[in-house]
């Protein structure tokens, strides 16, 4: 009797109970991808608050036999559900409450004054949502060429919404419409937001001339009074939710957070929403996103298509914003820099900063940051409206 025969029982137990024995190539690849995300977050500081916990969640979810992603189910013995499974089930799939609280914190962090001072920026925020709809059609067109890789209408909506460049809207919409691709759409949205500085400048340069990029705008906007800042979230909330009720979970919470901020009478609550609350929710949400990407779900050729279509949505959104900016420059009585349209994608504040830097590069006198913040925050509202529209088509609360 050799050593293996003597210890056959022990080896069998090790095969069942030790992770190494159950590690296969797809899991190893996903763990490496998770490590890649962590490296990008630490070394390049690309969206570290998002990519680091997503990468960690990905690694944890792909380590075999941990049970971390076991979701609670009726009749399950106590303690059998994993913590990541609980986050996934109650935070993202069944109750989908986490993205709404992120929006609440974003609302408390956002100053809408640049938008209130220049309401035309709303239109730039709308134009930049065009990418959502082109990628929606692109996702459906995949089925014409490769029927097995085709996407359903709900999946196409979820892919298109990546073009809004808004993480919580992408997560919320996908969680309700196509939870099977939520991890990848959310990761795509956050990754492209991190890569704004790489993606947007070539598109802006392609669509505008040096003279257009150099257009000088007065650096200051009109001052916005406190009553205006208080009334804005209330009026906007009423208008949007009465027109598209399904956008209420996102728009309602965004503007509620903003009302807390601007009211000036609930400072502690506003500070909590801006700091502790959004930090705690970010940890839970991003770990959940990472955990929603087990190898068997992601190792699919369609994943690459989702990434490509999401990128296309982002690029088309930027381009549409710039083209609309050029139209506004033609009809505007005052000098108008068409690059501002690119800030309509709601990657706040990165895309506004890109426009500002490009403005200064082309004309040292230009200071476009406050002008760009208007379309930038309008883009947040625009993408939430687009997400609410998609939900209204398929979901009955």
């Amino acid at each position: 009797m050799n050593w293996f025969e003597m210890h056959g029982g022990v080896m069998k137990i090790l095969g069942v109970q030790v992770g190494f024995g159950n590690l296969d190539l797809p899991h190893i690849i996903m763990i490496l991808v998770g490590l890649g995300f962590i490296t990008l977050a630490i070394k390049k500081e690309w969206e570290p608050y998002e990519l680091l916990p997503i990468g960690a969640g990905m690694i944890l979810a792909n380590l075999p036999l941990t049970g971390l992603t076991s979701q609670p189910a009726p009749g399950m013995a106590p303690g059998m559900a994993g913590v990541l499974g609980i986050i996934l089930k109650y935070g993202l799939y069944t109750w989908t409450i986490l993205p709404q609280f992120i929006f609440f914190g974003i609302g408390a962090l956002t100053d809408f004054s640049p938008l209130i001072a220049n309401p035309k920026a709303f239109l730039l925020g709308a134009a930049a949502q065009v990418g959502i709809y082109t990628s929606f059609l692109g996702a459906l067109a995949v089925g014409i060429f490769v029927p097995d890789w085709g996407f359903s209408l709900k999946e196409a909506c979820s892919i298109g919404i990546i073009g809004g460049a808004d993480g919580p809207t992408t997560i919320y919409t996908t969680g309700l419409l196509a939870p099977n691709i939520m991890g990848i759409t959310a990761t795509a949205a956050y990754s492209y937001m991190a890569m704004v500085a790489i993606i947007q400048p070539p598109i802006i340069n392609l669509l505008t001339s040096k003279a257009e990029r150099s257009v000088f705008m007065k650096p200051t906007l009109r001052p916005v009074s406190r009553p205006e800042r208080i009334l804005f979230p209330i009026v906007a909330m009423l208008i949007i939710i009465l027109l598209i009720p399904k956008s209420a979970p996102l728009v309602g919470f965004l503007l509620l957070g903003n009302l807390f901020r601007e009211s000036g009478v609930v400072e502690r609550l506003s500070q909590t929403a801006q700091n502790e609350l959004i930090n705690i929710i970010t940890i839970l949400l991003m770990l959940g996103i990472g955990a929603s990407m087990p190898a068997d779900r992601v190792m699919d050729p369609r994943t690459l298509l989702v990434l490509f279509l999401g990128l296309a949505a982002f690029c088309v959104g930027t381009g549409a914003g710039v083209i609309f900016g050029k139209i506004m420059a033609k009809i505007s009585k005052e000098p108008f820099n068409p690059m501002l349209g690119a800030a309509g994608v709601s990657a706040v504040p990165m895309s506004a900063r890109i426009v500002h830097h490009m403005g200064q590069k082309n004309n040292k006198r230009n200071f476009l940051l406050m002008h760009a913040m208007g379309p930038n925050v309008a883009g947040v509202i625009g993408s939430a409206v687009a997400g609410g529209y998609f939900l209204g088509l398929f979901i009955n609360f």
Binding site: I116, L123, A126, L153, A156, C157, G382, V385
Partner: protein, 55 residues
């Protein structure tokens, strides 16, 4: 995978673009009007204060 109903797909796109542009236009208009109202109220207040100071 069911074949795509392209008629429905294009109506979703048309409706979506219309909804986004319409809502954002309404918001732009409402915000513009709000600004005008507050500006005129501020002007009236200033004029009243100037009148009081004169008298």
């Amino acid at each position: 995978m069911q074949p795509t109903d392209w008629g429905q797909a294009f109506s979703i796109v048309g409706g979506g673009l219309l909804a986004v542009f319409f809502i954002m236009s309404v918001l732009a208009l409402a915000t513009h009007l709000m600004g005008k109202i507050f500006a005129s109220a501020a002007k009236k207040k200033e004029a009243a204060q100037a009148g009081e100071a004169k008298s």
